[in-house]
């Protein structure tokens, strides 16, 4: 009786161990899968946040430029017309968008600092990649390392007094391309 009990015990422990190992294996695999997808998702979320802020910045630069031209037009000129001339390279009708470089932004110019920034067309629809300068924490086109973000500004003239601005930031997460686009309509609402 005692012998048979012992035998039974031995067999059960083996099955038990196998079951335990398999449960353990399943949970470890689950852990590894979730951790790896968690890391990927976190990286994606980080890039997405940066892309959102860069796209927002694009709209705000264009807005600031419109405001500056409208509020402080040089003598004898119409601010709204000057603004449209300045951003003509971004017109969807003329090509595939533009990018701006704020390197030339000169705050010594007390009246219109923002209009010193350069706006260049994206050649063949390909805009340059933004560089990230870790010393200043700024994204630019001159110094730093490749950030992987590409910003493109597009405008569409809805009518004589309304312009729609699109700011698109594209980035890669792994091998998947992502795109963040914001858009705003600017009006010539300041009577001159």
């Amino acid at each position: 009786m005692k012998f048979s009990l012992k035998q039974k015990n031995k067999g059960f422990t083996l099955i038990e161990t196998l079951v335990a190992i398999s449960i353990f294996t399943v949970s470890v695999i689950a852990l590894l899968t979730i951790v790896s997808s968690g890391i990927t998702d976190t990286l994606y979320a980080k890039k997405k946040m940066a892309a959102i802020y860069l796209a927002q910045e694009g709209i705000e630069y264009m807005r600031n430029m419109r405001d500056t031209y409208l509020l402080y037009p040089p003598n004898g000129t119409v601010g709204w017309d000057d603004f449209k001339v300045k951003i003509e390279d971004c017109n969807t009708d003329n090509g595939k968008g533009c990018y701006f470089n704020d390197q030339a932004l000169d705050f010594n110019d007390q009246i219109q600092p923002i209009i010193d920034i350069t706006i260049s067309p994206c050649v063949a629809g390909v805009c340059p990649t933004l560089l990230y300068d870790s010393l200043t924490g700024k994204y630019n086109y001159t110094t730093g390392v490749n950030s992987g973000f590409v910003r493109r500004i597009n405008i569409t003239n809805i009518n004589a007094h309304e312009t729609q601005i699109y700011s698109t930031v594209t980035f890669m997460n792994g091998s998947v391309p992502y795109e963040i686009t914001f858009s705003e309509n600017l009006f010539n609402w300041i009577r001159q």
Binding site: T13, S27, A45, H161, E162, N185, R191
Partner: protein, 166 residues
Amino acid sequence: MVNKKIQKNKRGFVLLFAVVLSSIILTIALGLAKISFQEIVFGTSARSTNEAFFAADTAVECALYYDIGISISAFGVPSAQGDTSCAGTFVDLNNGSDTPDPSPWNFVLFPLGSGQACAKVTVTKTTVDPVTTQVLARGYSSGGSNTVDCSASNPNRVERELEVNY
């Protein structure tokens, strides 16, 4: 007999140990998954915030243009289709009436931004001097497909409000 009972009770220890260990590991894993999921939700809401804000801003600019950007305010003036438009759609600045309608005036702008956003605007003018105007624009991240009142059932919809007084 006592010995036997103890022996019996010891059975299943490895199984129990494995289950406890795997539940701890799974808890850690689910915790990590929750963190990354929250980050994605946070990123999405940051995007919706901008969509809603830019929609509200576009709506404010539209109202400002038709009130002070042109020589005579277009509010409270019956207008024909195509006379007044913002973001490519006709806006009725007279509450849809054929005769001059008193303040406040409401209108809806859609679709804005990436095509999902929309905005509701209320413009109020006082009748006594000095005339003051209030532009109240509510931008929404979704509801742009609703051409009547900009409403949407999406529980994650973001609203941003801008108020301009002059």
